[in-house]
Symmetry: C2
Subunit: 231 residues, 2 copies
């Protein structure tokens, strides 16, 4: 015990606001705190996994006592699920661009670009997803069986049409999708390994451009897509 009793200190946030003279509307407080917690939780979950993360760690990183975190999110699982759902929606949204173009080169290029962008700007989400799937998807199994499966089926159909139309070589659409997922997500999930092999530094803008270009070239050329020489 360093201090047997402490005088009831005013809350830090209120202190600051008092100085600046602003009020602290309840609605805003809720929004801000929840965002703070979600951000901290995403970091901690991606670094330690669901079980490895403790609500104490998340609370610390969000700058509030643990009890306060539990005031906004009753359980760790609720917090985790909300994060997973947000990640999932980002993934699906990025996938939209896939079918805005009828040309395989255009459609696949954009899709790969978007996926690479997400891997760079949102690596934690990818990691949490990978972690979840690797451990048997205990929490998002229903998503895999419904939304993801539907999405996959429809995109495979599109790819199959390209094959039937002779626009790309006859490969199994499934494995093309897996290769795109695997490769693009690798730059998020294995960013630590990639950085280590890059002399301990994060990839520069140039290196990212190079990665994007090479990934696109190899995949598009690999499936014999017509007219991809000028990427």
């Amino acid at each position: 015990m360093e201090h047997a009793l402490k005088k009831p200190a005013p809350r830090a946030a209120e202190k600051i606001r008092a100085k600046s003279g602003h009020p602290a509307p309840k609605a805003a407080i809720r929004r801000e705190k929840e965002a703070l917690i979600l951000k901290a939780a995403e970091e901690v979950f991606s670094e330690f996994g669901f079980r490895g993360a403790t609500t104490q760690m998340i609370a610390d990183r969000a700058g509030m006592p643990k009890a306060n975190l539990h005031y906004y999110f009753p359980t760790k699982l609720v917090l985790y699920r909300q994060i997973i759902e947000e990640i999932f929606s980002i993934w699906l949204e990025a996938a939209q661009s896939f079918d805005e173009n009828s040309d395989p080169v255009e459609a696949l290029s954009r899709y790969i670009d978007k996926k690479m962008e997400i891997s760079r700007s949102h690596p934690n989400g990818s990691k949490i997803w990978a972690n979840e799937v690797m451990h048997g998807a205990p929490i998002i199994q229903d998503y895999l069986e419904t939304t993801l499966r539907d999405w996959t089926d429809s995109r495979m159909a599109i790819i199959q049409r390209w094959i039937d139309d002779g626009l790309i070589d006859p490969i199994d659409p499934r494995h093309l999708l897996y290769m795109i997922w695997a490769t693009t997500q690798h730059y998020a999930d294995f960013v630590h390994q990639i950085n280590t092999l890059n002399g301990g530094k994060a990839l520069s803008d140039d290196q990212w451009n190079c990665a994007r270009r090479d990934v696109k070239i190899i995949i598009l050329k690999g499936i014999g897509a017509k007219g991809c020489g000028d990427l």
Copy 2:
């Protein structure tokens, strides 16, 4: 308390051996028990991660009381590290075949085949590795910086020579390696997702052959390797 006191029951293993009349040499006991524990630990670690796995779970799956496990492996970390090291050696060993052939088509084909084989036969190892790297490689960082980096550098040099000799297109060797790793390991790390998208069933032999073939074709054709039309 269901039973206040229990008579000292003879150990199960000894019971069986007594029946069969065999003795139980200490050396063999040690070997068998350690192997049993390592096998169980690999399963549990791959399913729950380091922190998610409990020594109790591992002991249960190995069919022995927890205290017995701690007799052979003093701490959970020691057990984990031993497993990681074994996995690492398998990976490097498989990579040997990479430079037994001077022809890029031959060398890369064999390398991809071996990696796909490992993903099918040894998915747990791949998952543990991925988990470890995703969480910042807290335990194997030194391996990444020494052995893996050396290996990567030497292979990149070989690929660069192929490029200089005009045997493959000028892409960044680094990203070719990453693509091979990402794609082949995806079939281990994301096996749950793949199976779910496959109607909940594991890939059949035919499907595996198809995956192997498509992965090889796309990558080899994608880098413009000469003479890979007959894969």
